[in-house]
Symmetry: D2
Subunit: 330 residues, 4 copies
């Protein structure tokens, strides 16, 4: 059994709390949140205790690993604290909104050889994972074109937008990681953006609609399209076109029911609206994998370096958007 603590009991924190509490190989020793009531209610739900401080968690020898699901601005400090306490870390994305700060974080802890995994949950989605395995097995030859569709059901509150670091660091970052998961290193990219969904987002200097093209070192081209609003649900698809065929992974519907009537045929119900439902299996598989890495002392992937790479792509996208130029990744 691996003793673990959960830091952060917000929306995604609660998902992790349930998965950690149910996991046969994990003992969820405690949860912590600066909002005591959030921590208490989560602890009650999953039958564990509340830690009173981060220091208490870091000092507890029963805890071998921490899951960091706090607000982004606290990630770096918590990663550093955990590394110094010799605890393994699973940290939610992004590492930080400031690329330089994120890089310094690693410099500070590299000598400790810490175990740090970044929570790019989509890598653990059974369909995306299966697609990648089949790609790796050569089923469609050499990948040449990748199309990543990623559209959120509804924009977050404007207050959140303000602190989000912008669409590329907040939302597209998952797609950047997916491009890297499928193809490896990215050499250059070009970003287009628009403010079509909510003028309030534009007033903050952010965009809510985007299209990007990336070129991988392998030669393959990648397209990403994003929208902050999608009326039919949380649209998450990947298409990979290769020299010998095409693989596509699509959306899940709550039921298999199909309706035919005098107005239309083959209608299905909506796709999952929320990332928690859409990626429920992925979040559980992510915990499985992390727990196995800690137990077997293996280096987990996506690593800290993967988190940095995704941030670099987000930074390049911002630069491309403002300069109307293709930006090279150094």
């Amino acid at each position: 059994m691996i003793g673990m603590a959960l830091l952060g009991c917000g929306r995604i924190g609660k998902v992790h709390a349930h998965n950690l509490a149910r996991h046969p190989a994990v003992k969820l020793e405690c949860v912590y949140d600066v909002m005591t009531c959030a921590a208490e209610s989560t602890a009650r739900d999953v039958g564990t205790r509340c830690a009173r401080s981060v220091d208490e968690v870091m000092a507890d020898p029963a805890i071998q690993a921490v899951l960091i699901a706090t607000s982004t601005d606290t990630h770096v400090a918590l990663i550093i604290a955990a590394a110094h306490a010799h605890k393994a870390v699973l940290c939610e994305k992004p590492i930080d909104l400031d690329l330089a700060r994120a890089k310094r974080c690693w410099n500070d802890i590299a000598s400790l050889q810490p175990t740090v995994m970044i929570g790019f949950n989509r890598r653990f989605d059974p369909s995306f994972r299966s697609l990648r395995e089949r790609l790796g097995a050569g089923e469609i030859g050499v990948p040449e074109l990748v199309i990543i569709t990623s559209r959120d059901p509804a924009p977050p509150p404007v207050a959140y937008i303000k602190t989000s670091g912008g669409i590329f660091r907040d939302m597209t970052i998952h797609d950047f990681d997916m491009a890297r998961y499928l193809l490896g290193d990215i050499l250059e990219l070009q970003a287009f953006g628009a403010n079509l969904v909510d003028p309030a987002i534009g007033e903050l200097g952010d965009i809510d609609t985007a299209m990007l093209v990336l070129r991988a070192r392998s030669g393959a081209l990648v397209h990403i399209d994003n929208s902050r609003r999608c009326v039919y649900g949380y649209d998450q698809r990947i298409e990979v076109f290769g020299s010998k065929g095409m693989l596509r992974a699509g959306n899940q519907h709550a039921t298999t029911v199909e309706s035919w009537n005098a107005a239309s045929t083959r209608s299905r119900d909506l796709i999952e609206r929320f990332f928690i439902e859409r990626y429920a299996a992925a979040y559980a598989a992510e915990i499985d994998y992390f727990a196995a890495c800690v137990r077997d002392r293996k280096t987990p992937s996506p690593s800290f370096a993967d988190g940095i790479s995704a941030l670099e792509l987000a930074e390049a996208a911002v630069q491309s958007l403002h300069s109307a130029r293709t930006v090279q990744l150094s």
Copy 2:
């Protein structure tokens, strides 16, 4: 070039007129209908002349083959006349509503060794044909279960129902032929019926909804379901389940457009509503095949005997419906 005449310029006659007129290997010498105006308008549409009588057609040495698309009660007499005039025949289904009379027809002409094909158009549908070829090639091993779905968009006028011979001879006859096309001889069947669509049909002693089970000599079981009304179009499907898999042939949609919105996803437009559109390719392929048989002096299939077999199944279905017993085919 094969000289042909069309007898009967009703709804299906007009479809054939166009296919015959366009066919590179056929010369449509003339059309005929007891309703002179129907014949004249058809002749004008496709650029041919009107024959003044059946006798004129049968006496014309330029005519090698006739297509009989007149009302069912005239089929037998026309087949006999054509056989005696040594003209090949493509006759619309059914041969006759009276099985005994249909059998006598063949006795009358058998010694002339006539070329007679019955117009079971569905055998020429590209999807059903492909399914049968793949079945024959062993793609799914031994066929064990066949499900034939056949639902008309809307019931015919009550006046037509009166002379139709009942649902089994009029509508299910296509499905009986399809079962034989896929599996060969049928040994026994059981019919269930109901009057759910229009009480006027029930008042005529007919049914508008049916389910049947057939057993083929091969051992396979067949299910047929019929309805005289289907709000989403003309539903025509076949599923064959075998020892090594399943093949299904489905409906065609007018376009490939798919709609996703806040109420439903993946919605397609309606399927073709009318048999003429649904089986347009089949009608054209049927003429191709018949013309090739005439040219190459080959025996066409579906043959007169196939027409008799389908009628026998319809007769057995009527008997089963009234006796609530499984009926053996002799």
Copy 3:
């Protein structure tokens, strides 16, 4: 919290053990099996204790309800014991292979007004449930034709076939219940069977392939087809055709990945092969529902009477198969 015991730790018993152990409103007090080692391993897996006898379970005041997942021949005795001990019962299907014995069981306990639910798990499948709700809401008008496809991946061992009561009592019984779930009372049925999958099954006097037609009191017709072997997985589908449209509920695939290559397009992976995976959500929802009924003292459905009705249909099917006649339900 409802105290519960699990009787029977075989394949399906283990599924229930996990669902009971995880359920927030249930306390799994103990498990029992005549095979002590099966009970012990299950108890260990889910963290509960083993009861040493059925009597111990029935005498335990902490236990309010029992889940009976033992072999079919023990169901009646256990239901009677539980009813006398005033414990609610969730019993796996079928109640018994002998209809008369099953009916006597109820006579013996009716005066105790026991809470008994029969485990027709498919009623709790989210897709089938949604289909029924939409049907009930009138989405497709009056249901007229129901097609139930139910094909097992592979036949059970011959030893099991011997004690199974035959395909209709063992396998089709689920489809009979589904027909009743969707349409209510059934008035008559006709069964066709064949031995196409394994000669050993035929040698035992059983069949492995079946087609049935049922007529509901509502006037709707129902088709059921069964096979004991299906190479592409566990094929479980329902189609309901009504006066205003059609609803279909289909199979689930493990992933959404679709493959296109030079030989074929749109290929999906296999559907779930085992009932445990296929109906995982249904088994969990069944426990939810039963626990809520016990807590709220509501009469659960499917009831004991539903179990009897399904058995009556199985009996009628056997009779129809042997007589080649339509059998009326009294």
Copy 4:
């Protein structure tokens, strides 16, 4: 009846010959090709005569309209000749490989107010047309993202590549027109290219794989992806995402047959491999529309100006590819 002549009897010319010959409102007076044997065989196939020269065609008062399907370098001269002869023109795309020359062409003939239509056949595809109509009717609100997938089954011969003007003028030009057909004016674009399919194409300085992003005046973003090789057929899809939903138009399969077996499920056969089959309905509808415009003296669309706009986008794409910058359309 409209008297028409066909200039050019190559691959696409023959398709047009058949459609013109069959058309009820058109009389195909003659065909012409510099290769006399091509003209003769086409004339024989469709039952018309060969013209001996372009001058003969232009001088013939029975000819009201010409269809120009000759090699691209002759288009401009033939359009000018036809305009001066007061004949309506349907000219295959592109007008010319040289944008300046194409513009001069119009200057030369504008005062004659000629009827000129450019053959962007995809606008007449029933599915794309239906998608656009539904878009125009507001079914999905305001369009925000358009994804155009356009992949050829196999690259043309290297000899053709040399004279093709490059992928953007030869292949992507259809997608540029489709973007304009759906959204109207395009303001800017960015092109990415790669040589992944055939090194011989790269040696000619061309690319065979491309991704582009365009921004429409409406604010919508457009993605186009192209490949010169697609093993599963001729992949032609459009997805339009809007404020109230999504519309997608996809590929057609030769049959509706679906295969399920022990290795995969739901497999369909390949999609049409050749543009002639894929767009058969579109080519016929294009002729219908052009004939109706000539008869009713209406200005056809896509117009000469649409042909110029598509060329301008191709030119901009070349420029963007070489500069790695977003290019504004003036």
